[in-house]
Symmetry: C2
Subunit: 369 residues, 2 copies
């Protein structure tokens, strides 16, 4: 059993070495490979007293091949080193994938695109064209209910990639996939990329000066959750900025269709900065602690990382009037700012040239060209 | 003057369109290009009453071509659309650049690598080999004292790129470059990438559950700054995790060499998880508020995103004993955790197979293979 583990892990570590032909890390794995095979010979002819040392050295190799499990399954299909890849796509379009990610996507047996926790600014055809290979769109049902049979277990026989907008670990769903891999003994690897959680730095506010991030969901008649307000207040009391991630609803079913089990989906909805600001103002009305009132300074961003990215700095009541264009939007309620932060924000200050939403009286002037 | 601005901006917007031949954003810029040239014709034959509308529509185009200035300089060398690019390289090696970033690097006239706020796991030769072009290493002096003449002003005539480890806006220095571009009238564009601020999600802790990030600097005899403790306590009181970014010292001068103005630099130093944990324990000793004591749960990470990435979960006193290998390291002091967070952390729990640092008695056993 012990040796079994070692063998699988050895072949895993080898195939890993091949699949990562990288300068420094290669040299590393080269030496590891050697020491491992030596270790293995020892384990074949020798006693239990050695096996502790072996598992010690082995865990090194494993952490070096980024595998999350020490079980004999870890290597997947009898040490063929098949892998489940979680690959971040970044924020904008097909060109935001990293060179490493692209390399993996090109050689994977199957590639899925997670298309419900966030969206790219391009559809899957664009991705397929750029990658030069087919991509299967994976909706919530596939990722959350069928992930074992469709995504994870096949990764014991094949290389499977799940493409995720932003960074792979931005959403709980994807972190959960890593633990499922572990329990199924499926080797798993992630390729990081930008997400709004760090790219928001583009508005000039320093990431060090952000407090806890909050999520703002669409208010309904019956459901107007405002627990974000207390978190936002705690940030404000410490002079920290609050990043508000806004709701998106993709492939949602109406209550009726849900009950009747009809696979009929509502059109996708993406919350705008305007809606988000309005909801914040409503909740400020309710609690009145001066956390996110009409005069609170904020910066709205749209399509961060895209060529048509838009950033506008103003009061919440001003931002309600701004036309930010297509999704995705985010809003930051600003705490205390230092000089550099203020300098950058000033570049994005709302003025007469800022496009406004249709309801606005000055709309005709703005759009008449 | 007004029209001058428009012309520059028009040609800028056009060259931008060319330089970003992207699906959706292209279609966008196509339409923009049209409306812009129409606008421009108007501006040539018409009155001031129009120019407000023009600058309205124009600012749209400009925000769509991601330029940060409306001045006639904005277009750089008489509308040749030259650009200063801040390009994030991500966390590990030459392959973590995005496809978009690589495209820009290949066609830039000059490419600099910022090499003092963070490091890649590869040297600039590797980058040059992968990019197929020369890369100039830019030290602190070049980026902070000579940036105008070396980096920014040349971007009025040429395409200049500054490559930055992680995301371009992770460090204040780079945000500052954006404002300098603005004041110099140099068009500037950023390409985002992963940074430790979002990639830390790989340890299983949800980014939503992080409070303010703190920096831990090397303690000296005279200087043992511990303002991080209060911030960490505030996070803990809210049940939030604290990401500790650890100090790195590259191209630092000794006080003596600094005073004597001698360009002699100390060898680079990178704080380890062990040193960081020890400093936290020392400050806990001092204040004793149970924020980061020997039994506080934490997770240490090293070389996140690299093939030899290491993640170990344990108490601070346990992590002091762990060998995390080469830089860069980071440490998270853990707040309240949910079930998924605990499941992932368990995968990284310290055990007998975890490599230990040399001082540790069991070291011989661990390294004997």
């Amino acid at each position: 059993m012990c040796c079994q583990t070692f063998m699988c892990s050895l072949s895993l570590s080898l195939s890993q070495t091949l699949s990562n032909s990288l300068s420094l890390s290669q040299t590393l794995s080269q030496t590891l490979k050697l020491s491992l095979s030596q270790t293995l010979k020892l384990s074949l002819k020798l006693s239990n007293s050695l096996s502790l040392k072996l598992s010690n050295s082995l865990s090194l190799k494993l952490s070096n091949s980024q595998t999350l499990s020490l079980s004999p399954f870890a290597a997947g299909g009898a040490g063929t080193g098949r892998m489940f890849y979680l690959i971040g796509l970044g924020l904008s379009d097909e060109k935001d994938i990293t060179a490493r990610g692209l390399e993996i996507v090109k050689r994977c047996d199957e590639v899925f695109l997670e298309a419900y926790t966030a969206i790219l600014m391009v559809n899957s055809d664009k991705l397929e064209a750029f990658y030069g290979r087919p991509v299967t769109v994976a909706d919530r049902e596939l990722v959350e209910q069928q992930c074992e049979e469709r995504l994870l277990l096949p990764a014991k026989e094949k290389d499977i990639a799940l493409l995720v907008v932003g960074d792979p670990f931005a959403a709980t769903t994807h972190t959960d996939l890593v633990t499922r891999c572990k329990s199924l003994g499926v080797p798993c690897q992630a390729v990081h990329n930008a997400s709004i959680m760090n790219a928001i730095g583009c508005c000039g506010l320093q990431l060090y000066n952000f407090g806890r991030t909050v999520s703002i969901v669409f208010f309904t008649e019956q459901w107007r959750p405002d627990s974000f307000y207390a978190k936002m207040k705690a940030n404000k009391d410490m002079g920290l900025h609050t990043l508000c991630l806004v709701d998106i609803k993709v492939k949602e079913q109406s209550i009726e269709n849900l009950i009747k089990g009809r696979k009929i989906f509502e059109p996708p909805r993406y919350m705008t900065v305007n809606q988000c600001a309005k909801q914040l103002l409503e909740v400020e009305e309710k609690y009145g602690e001066g956390v996110c009132g009409p005069d609170s300074l904020a910066v709205g961003v749209a399509r961060v990382g895209c060529t048509d990215q838009r950033i506008v700095f103003g009061t919440l009541s001003e931002l309600v009037t701004v036309d930010f264009g297509p999704p995705l939007h985010s809003l930051v309620v600003i705490g205390e700012t230092d000089e550099i932060e203020r300098e950058v924000l000033d570049m994005y200050k709302i003025d007469d040239s800022t496009p406004r939403v249709a309801e606005e009286p000055d709309d005709l002037d703005v759009h008449c060209t």
